[in-house]
């Protein structure tokens, strides 16, 4: 029973892992240096959710 309680939920981990991958991609400096995306929360958040959800 305890084992069941403390079992990590695979769904949750997949979300965290994918999010970490998306953030790593969105932090590629080239977005901000070469492609001129402004380093603001609402400009950055184009690359993070879009990397994760849009494409």
């Amino acid at each position: 029973m305890l084992k069941h309680l403390f079992k990590t939920r695979p769904g949750g981990r997949i979300g965290d892992d994918l999010y970490a991958l998306a953030v790593a991609q969105a932090r590629n400096p080239a977005f901000y240096t070469r492609l001129g995306v402004e380093d603001r929360i609402d400009a950055r958040s184009n690359s993070t959710p879009c990397t994760s959800c849009c494409w």
Binding site: L18, A22, V37, S45, C50
Partner: protein, 140 residues
């Protein structure tokens, strides 16, 4: 989109889970910037509306592979201008990422999404030939 396009329960659930993680990360980020309990909800709602607006603006051109329409939407949302110098390059990156992800099977997307690492700065015809990248050359 790639996860939802899988059109399976697992794909839908994964897309939802990723979205939930993103929303909670955004909440944390706002709090780290010093936004208090009372206004965090309001700010989240604003960012949420902005996100849905963008998803709607990008989805059509992404599905149709319409680089020009996507560049226009990106110019408005990312660069705050109707025409922006880098919007075309960003649009081509997004379309290449979508092609790359579409060529991967679901488990490969989860492990090493092939959205491409190299971002072009100028017109590079050779970039397009590598649009559908192999998993081997793609880096997460």
């Amino acid at each position: 989109m790639r996860l939802r396009d899988e059109d399976t329960v697992r794909g839908q659930e994964t897309a939802q889970t990723l979205f939930d993680v993103y929303v909670s990360a955004l909440d944390h980020a706002l709090r780290e910037e010093g936004v208090g309990d009372i206004s965090v909800g309001k700010k989240m709602r604003k960012l949420g509306e902005a996100l849905y607006g963008r998803m709607t603006a990008y989805e059509g051109p992404l599905r149709q592979g319409d680089a020009e329409a996507l560049a226009q939407a990106l110019a408005r949302n990312v660069y705050g201008a109707d025409a922006a110098e880098h919007a075309g390059a960003l649009a081509r990156y997004a379309l290449a990422a979508r092609t790359g992800l579409g060529a991967q099977d679901f488990n490969a997307v989860l492990a090493r999404p092939a959205w491409g690492r190299r971002l072009e700065s100028h017109e590079r015809p050779s970039f397009h030939r590598h649009g559908a990248r192999s998993t081997r050359s793609a880096r997460a």
